[in-house]
């Protein structure tokens, strides 16, 4: 398996484990302003995705991401399937040439664009977009303007996503199921923004780990490695 492909497979598995661990917390968040299925949907979908990508034979990163996205589409369904999975399927095309700083930025931008097109949501609507927009813009600026190494850029993006999640608490929902509650949605943290943050945190962990491994000279040849960890922009 290509090092990059293996690294992305490992990242998908880490995300699946994290979302399983956060399952009941996400469902609690969703109970307050939605229909109480986000934790179960995410955990089930990513767990199926982790199984699917583990079965791929020597995949490149784009194939891993596309497979994960397609699995989410079919396993999660509802609105979350297209938002989380469909966006991955489309954005995976940006990784066709492998993972570089440039393709990672393109991937992140396409993912965001698809989420926004599909959900017709903007910053301030109390959705996953509130975490994604600052994260993707921060990642792009950190790579392109500040010339930061991609893993550092990703760390900044995760911090930006975290502030975005906090920002969802005091605002009123105007997209998605929560919008039905109007002002009663105020004071609750958005579950979609929260799961998006968890996914990004796992990507950062996976990227950091693989860069460390890559920098260790006596690395096991079968060990997944990735030079820059830009695939982290996967979300």
């Amino acid at each position: 398996m290509s090092d990059e492909g293996a690294a992305v497979v490992a990242a998908v598995q880490a995300i699946a484990e994290r979302l399983e661990a956060e399952r009941s917390y996400l469902t609690d968040l969703d109970s307050a302003i939605g229909d109480a299925d986000h934790g179960g949907n995410m955990a089930r979908g990513w767990s199926a995705a982790a199984e699917k990508v583990a079965d791929l034979d020597d995949p490149d990163p784009a194939t891993v991401v596309k497979t994960a996205g397609k699995t989410l589409l079919s396993e999660v369904g509802g609105a979350s399937g297209p938002l989380y999975g469909g966006s991955l399927v489309f954005a995976s095309q940006e990784l066709d040439g492998g993972i570089t700083a440039d393709t990672a930025v393109a991937f992140a931008e396409t993912y965001l664009e698809k989420v926004q097109d599909r959900g017709d949501a903007r910053v301030g609507d109390k959705t996953m977009v509130d975490a994604l927009v600052p994260a993707v813009h921060t990642f792009k600026k950190s790579v392109e303007t500040d010339d930061l190494p991609p893993v550092e850029a990703l760390a900044k993006a995760v911090a930006a996503a975290e502030r975005g999640v906090d920002f969802t608490v005091p605002i009123r929902a105007s997209k998605g199921r929560a919008s039905y509650l109007g002002w009663r949605s105020v004071g609750h943290q958005d579950p979609g923004a929260t799961s998006t943050l968890y996914i990004m945190e796992e990507l950062l962990d996976a990227a950091t780990e693989h860069v460390d491994v890559a920098e260790t000279p006596a690395v096991d040849a079968t060990s997944p490695t990735i030079p820059d960890g830009e695939e982290a922009a996967e979300d």
Partner: protein, 332 residues
């Protein structure tokens, strides 16, 4: 609640197998999916017309598979959108190279899954167009929808688009007539009782013995008003006036009407409603070109009805009157 089901998890799967067993020469099931297509799909030289949505609205949508209407119908779980990967397979299975029209009811899950599927098949080179049906005049922005919900007017969209496609029209033309129906149709429903989903096994919402819900959605979403029970004429007047207010038609306009049963309503009652509906249309100076009465888009076992009015010009009359041969609707 007593139900003719085995396991709630199997109800959609078993229903689809039963439909194929009932109409083996008309429909077939794409393997490992909840998609039914016309037995002879893809029909060469013809634009494909497909639809889909949550189950529990039968005969919507698979009942309208066949000549002059739909080429493909995707069934989701009960009241849940079909997934984009199954929709993608459906479109691929019915595309004869002339492109495919996606007829989508306006619910967030449906719209997102259809749009995702549409973009995925476009990546593979299939031409698709989409029309979103939002005929429910009752409420804006409800439980599963931003904007207005898509309900029974969808059947007229299936009929007009299917007829246009059968004529050999191109995708743009098929989409145009579908949109023309959407632009000219309005519906409002009411419930006497709640539906009962197989999963939950008890009423989705509480409605008192002497209460009705006006403007109910086909998943039991809240309507505009909960009120004391009225007689059939008064209920018919409430629904009809709401629809006509919204459509704002000129005197002398010809219309098609549907009195649609929600699944648990005797036909006797639907005809009683239709009698009053036609009288009211006459009072408004409208002319009924055709009146449909029956269960077209249901909400499981909900008792109640919806009233649909669609303004029809010569073109829509020709298309709605064109031959159709499907399990749930035959026009000769």
């Amino acid at each position: 609640m007593k139900k003719l089901i085995n396991d709630p998890d199997d109800v959609v799967d078993e229903m689809l197998d039963g439909m194929v067993a009932a109409y083996p020469d008309r429909v077939r099931r794409l393997s490992d999916t909840n998609v039914l297509v016309r037995e002879d799909a893809p029909v060469g030289g013809k634009v494909g017309v497909v639809s889909g949505g949550g189950s529990g609205h039968e005969p919507t949508h698979a009942g309208y598979l066949g000549e002059g209407m739909l080429d493909g119908a995707a069934a989701g779980e009960v009241f849940t959108s079909p997934t984009a990967d199954e929709l993608e397979e459906m479109v691929a299975a019915v595309d004869s190279g002339e492109g495919v029209l996606l007829v989508v009811k306006n619910y967030e899950g449906d719209v997102m899954n259809f749009e995702t599927a549409g973009e995925m098949v476009e990546m593979e080179g299939t031409e698709v167009a989409e029309v979103v049906v939002n005929d429910d005049v009752a409420v804006e922005d409800s439980l599963y929808t931003s904007g207005r919900r898509g309900v029974c007017g969808t059947i007229l969209v299936h009929k007009a688009a299917g007829a246009k496609a059968a004529e050999g029209a191109d995708l743009d033309e098929v989409q145009r007539v579908a949109q023309k129906v959407v632009d000219n149709v309005g519906t409002m429903g009411m419930a006497l009782t709640s539906c009962v989903t197989p999963e939950k096994g008890e009423p989705t919402f509480d409605l008192g013995e002497d209460e009705i819900e006006l403007g109910i959605g086909i998943h039991g979403e809240p309507g505009v008003e909960r009120t004391d029970i009225m007689d059939a004429d008064a209920i018919t007047e409430e629904l009809t006036e709401s629809v006509l207010d919204d459509l704002d038609l000129d005197e002398g306009q010809e219309v098609v009407t549907i009195v649609n049963g929600m699944g648990g309503t005797p036909q006797m009652e639907l005809f009683v409603v239709n009698r009053k509906l036609q009288e009211l249309l006459g009072d408004h100076g409208l002319e009924t070109w055709d009146a449909w009465v029956g269960d077209y888009m249901t909400s499981l076992d909900m008792a109640g009805c919806s009233i649909t009015v669609c303004a029809v010009d010569d073109e829509l009359q020709e298309l709605l009157g064109a031959p159709a041969d499907t399990p749930a609707l035959t026009v000769r």
